[in-house]
């Protein structure tokens, strides 16, 4: 891989990353807080690419043989493979297919106490993680009998026959480490397709045995549906993370 090839791939890579950052599509692949590091890396790549391209041009005019002097191993060409996949498959974020494969996330107990929920401004919106956390660990029962709003995608599951699993992924670094957080929504009349984004107003169904003492193989925090809207502007577009 000579200087010209390296310059070309660095520039292609740099422009693709710049585009992912610009459109916000990078959020499907990595956590939002990785945006700045990725931006810096992109700028470094572009500068190095331009520099190498200029060097290659100068070398060529001075000494046509010079291109063989600075070569990187051919394996470097593989770096265009992720770009080809981005262009051809146009992968989207994690969805039902991923939720099927990974064990549900269960929050562990933390020392901190839960804040009071504010119901004065209408139905409060909660992160799915927060909902599950409170359902399992809040001894004061801040969710009991209260309607709250959750946003997530639909995953149909045979264990939830008249409903679906409202799912959000917890991603700490990149989509490959994503684990689903799910709430079983009961009492749904519509048949929703997998991966539809929805906003659901729900009330926690208090279990007979506290969730934390449940030792079944597979269990969910349950909630009764109050109202449901299909989310026409899901957080998969610019600058809003689809992940928690």
């Amino acid at each position: 891989m000579n200087r010209v090839g390296r310059a070309a791939v660095m520039l292609t890579l740099g422009f693709t990353m710049a585009r992912l950052l610009w459109t916000g599509a990078f959020g499907w692949f990595i956590q939002q807080r990785m945006q700045i590091p990725l931006l810096i890396a992109t700028v470094v790549l572009l500068i190095m690419g331009v520099y190498e391209a200029v060097q290659a041009t100068e070398e060529e005019t001075k000494d046509p043989e010079s291109r063989t002097r600075s070569t990187a191993p051919k394996v470097g060409w593989l770096m265009i493979l992720p770009l080809l996949v981005i262009v051809s498959v146009q992968p989207v974020g994690l969805g039902a297919a991923a939720a099927d494969r990974v064990e549900n996330f269960t929050p562990v107990e933390t020392e901190s106490r839960f804040d009071e929920l504010d119901f004065s401004q209408g139905v409060p919106e909660l992160r799915v993680l927060d909902f599950v956390d409170r359902a399992i660990w809040d001894d004061d029962g801040s969710l009991n009998g209260q309607t709250v709003r959750l946003e997530g995608l639909v995953v149909n599951d045979p264990d939830v026959p008249d409903g679906f699993l409202l799912t959000r992924f917890l991603v700490s670094c990149c989509a490959a480490d994503g684990v689903p957080i799910q709430v079983a929504i009961q009492g749904v009349s519509e048949n929703l397709v997998n991966d539809t984004w929805v906003v659901a107003d729900v009330v926690l169904i208090e279990p007979d045995v506290p969730y934390r003492e449940n030792d079944a193989d597979r269990w969910f925090v349950n909630a009764e549906l109050q109202s449901l809207t299909i989310d026409l502007t899901p957080p998969t577009d610019a600058y809003e993370s689809p992940y928690e």
């Binding site: 891989m1 000579n2 010209v4 090839g5 070309a8 791939v9 520039l11 422009f15 990353m17 585009r19 990078f26 692949f29 990785m34 990725l38 890396a41 190498e52 391209a53 060097q55 290659a56 060529e60 046509p64 043989e65 063989t68 002097r69 600075s70 990187a72 191993p73 051919k74 394996v75 470097g76 060409w77 593989l78 770096m79 265009i80 992720p82 770009l83 080809l84 981005i86 262009v87 051809s88 498959v89 989207v92 974020g93 994690l94 969805g95 297919a97 991923a98 494969r101 064990e103 269960t106 562990v108 107990e109 700490s172 670094c173 990149c174 989509a175 490959a176 480490d177 684990v179 193989d217």
Partner: protein, 357 residues
């Protein structure tokens, strides 16, 4: 997508083939002479080498059904994620390795790195505290350190310690395991111990022939000043390590799909089984060391010490690292190094886990 446009003047991109074969000097001359004959032709086709795959990719994406299966799209999401996530760390790593190549001379190493391995290995381990990154960045850095004359035992200790004990990883472990501070301490001690044990083993073994030099067969270009050689080294290391990183991401994405969750569920009972399974998962999943704590924290049905195994093994050895080690230090090295590191890491984690957790 607009990536199809390449910003290089067309005649700059040449088909590599004819030029890569710089075997015998007179052959090369001959090649070159010949080149003037059909050079025009080659130049015209050159850009296609890079542009064609993108054109094909754009054409394929309209045949949606072929690529639209849920599993394939998930695979591609995972593959692209692992690759992009590593990019900032890889770039940081090659910038540091470029700086090392330019500013760290063998004389400087001789002056500052302790002569005796007894001192060099522990100090290299603690130096790992200073590199805020993950394992992808430390491989090219360690390669350059060896080239600058650092004793391999010390460079390898740094290679293993840096991705596991740096401040970023320690903080993310503390965040993931809130209220379980001993996990952070246990991870630090076990990872550092593992790095130093492997370093000491390497110092004893003292088989330099196993490590292939990064610059073997590479001419040192001193003519163009420091900036030029900095970019030269950084860019070469980027593609060297980056290419193998892509190989590793391919393997990791594939295995994430292939390892079914039933395997994980089946073994949560027995302690020994779960230690082995977590070691295997750490190797197969190849999760970045800055993220693995969150994954481990998400599996509370397993014991703390088996999850510690995951956190200690992951940063020092996994599929993408084996590919990167093979690329930077040579295939023979990777084959010897991987099992030793895996064994030592599991041992350290189990011992520390028994004592602390």
């Amino acid at each position: 997508m607009s990536v199809v446009s390449i910003q290089i003047p067309h005649d700059e991109i040449l088909a590599d083939a004819g030029h890569q074969t710089c075997g015998l000097e007179h052959d090369h001359d001959h090649d070159h002479q010949h080149d003037h004959g059909d050079g025009k032709k080659k130049r015209a086709y050159g850009p296609l080498v890079l542009v064609a795959p993108f054109l094909i990719a754009v054409l394929i994406r309209n045949q949606y059904d072929a690529l639209g299966s849920a599993d394939f799209r998930l695979w591609s999401t995972l593959f692209v994620s692992v690759s992009i996530q590593a990019l900032p760390f890889l770039v940081l790593g090659v910038v540091v390795s470029g700086l090392i190549a330019v500013f760290v001379s063998p004389e400087l190493v001789e002056k500052f790195v302790p002569k005796s391995n007894k001192l060099a290995v522990p100090s290299a381990g603690l130096a790992g505290l200073a590199l805020p990154g993950c394992e992808c960045g430390s491989v090219p850095i360690a390669g350059r350190l060896v080239d600058a004359g650092t004793p391999p035992a010390a460079a390898l200790t740094f290679l293993l310690a840096a991705p596991a004990i740096n401040p970023v990883v320690m903080v993310s472990t503390a965040v993931a395991f809130q209220g379980q501070g001993t996990m952070v301490l246990a991870r630090f001690i076990a990872s550092l111990a593992c790095a130093m044990l492997v370093g000491t083993w390497w110092a004893r073994r003292n088989d330099e022939s196993l490590i292939k030099s990064m610059t073997a067969g590479e001419e040192h270009a001193h003519d163009g000043g420091r900036l030029r050689s900095f970019v030269d080294v950084a860019s070469k290391d980027l593609f060297h390590a980056g290419g193998y990183l892509v190989v590793g991401s391919l393997a990791a994405a594939t295995l994430q799909l292939v390892v079914p969750r039933s395997v994980i569920n089946a073994v949560s009972g027995s302690e020994w089984q779960s230690v082995l399974i977590f070691a295997a998962l750490a190797v197969l999943l190849s999760i970045c060391s800055e993220a693995d704590a969150f994954v481990a924290a998400g599996l509370p049905q397993f014991s703390m010490s088996s999850r510690l195994v995951f956190l200690v093994v992951g940063p020092v050895i996994d599929l993408k690292l084996v590919a990167m080690h093979a690329g930077v230090f040579g295939r023979r090295f990777a084959l010897v190094f991987a099992p030793i590191v895996l064994g030592v890491a599991v041992l350290c984690a189990v011992v520390v886990g028994q004592v602390l957790l």
